[in-house]
């Protein structure tokens, strides 16, 4: 039973890696609903650049990496790992908070 559950978690994680690392290249690059509405209705020009727009990972790419497939795929993999680490910390901390009560 324990082995099996590990296999399920592994499959779920692997699916996320494939989606972020490989399938993301095929995503539609059209503006999403909010951006499209802002553009059509006419308040898109009020948008400001994020204070971290200089991040090497800004806009889901690796700055300086020319190959688009590699750039978006790698940034996706980094995002998956970063999300995994932060989520682990959050859920581990909240579990510990309960134990210490």
């Amino acid at each position: 039973m324990k082995k099996k559950i590990g296999r399920f978690y592994l499959a779920f994680f692997a699916a996320s890696l494939v989606v972020a690392g490989a399938l993301s290249f095929y995503a539609s690059s059209h503006p999403d609903g909010l951006e499209k509405v802002a553009e059509d209705v006419g308040f898109l020009e009020t948008a400001k650049d994020s204070s971290v727009s200089g991040s090497p990972l800004a806009d889901y790419g690796i700055s300086g990496l020319e190959n688009a497939r590699l750039s978006v795929g790698l940034s996706g993999l980094i995002g998956v790992l970063a999300t995994a680490v932060v989520a682990y910390l959050v859920f581990a901390i909240s579990k510990r908070m309960r134990k210490s009560k």
Partner: protein, 227 residues
């Protein structure tokens, strides 16, 4: 750069700083409640699932799907997360995703983080939870009943999050366009995008119910907010 993956979330500037700060404070309050409550709802089996839910939603949000001419949509994941791990863990998982996106990928402004967290991690999650639990009482307590309840909740959660933005715009929008115009455009577009949300939610929840239904929060016999 940025030609492939469209921006997904509210950037800085759309909503003024006082209203952004107000939603930041509101979001922090809800997150604090969920942090306190989630420990009681999670066990050794569902804790990893909560983290993996965040990971999967991050990945899935990268896949913008075309909806209409020149427009794309993407998963929010609120209903999916709520059905999988319950509302408190869903709030935390989605907040992690939004935080990573804003800080590492410059997607969603930093001052707008509270607005995004409120609309997706709180508003969409709790409306999904309410709808999901109500629909589950109506449908047969079967795997397909759970999947359909989550799917309907997923569809509704998208225009609900759009309404959240419209409300924020009415309170503190920087643009000069009337809030009524923005609201109808937001709800109209997102009623279409909701179809994609429903489809992705249905496929994901059905696959997990087929393999490990015992891990799915929404499939447990006694469904209530635990803790």
């Amino acid at each position: 750069m940025g030609m492939i993956i469209a921006k997904l979330h509210i950037p800085d500037g759309f909503i003024n700083i006082p209203i952004s700060a107000l939603f930041g404070v509101l979001s922090i309050a809800f997150i604090a409640i969920s942090l306190r409550r989630v420990g009681a709802a999670l066990d050794d089996r569902t804790t990893p699932l909560s983290g993996l839910t965040a990971v999967f939603i991050f990945a899935a949000q990268m896949i913008n799907f075309p909806v209409a001419a020149g427009t794309s949509g993407h998963l929010l994941g609120a209903a999916l997360a709520t059905a999988l791990v319950g509302p408190h863990a869903a709030t935390l998982a989605l907040t992690v995703v939004l935080g990573v996106q804003a800080l590492l990928f410059a997607d969603g402004g930093l001052s707008a983080l509270g607005l995004n967290v409120f609309n997706i991690s709180i508003l969409a999650v709790w409306v999904s939870h309410l709808l999901f639990t109500t629909l589950r009482k109506i449908f047969a307590k079967s795997k397909s009943g759970v999947a359909v309840a989550a799917t309907i909740a997923a569809y509704i959660s998208v225009p609900i999050a759009a309404l959240g933005f419209s409300f924020q715009y009415a309170l503190g929008g920087a643009g000069t366009i009337s809030a009524t115009t923005v609201t109808s455009a937001m709800v109209g577009t997102h009623s279409l995008i909701g179809l994609g949300e429903a489809l992705i939610t249905f496929i994901t929840i059905s696959s997990i119910l087929a393999t490990r239904s015992d891990l799915v929060y929404g499939y447990k016999p006694a469904l209530e907010v635990r803790g």
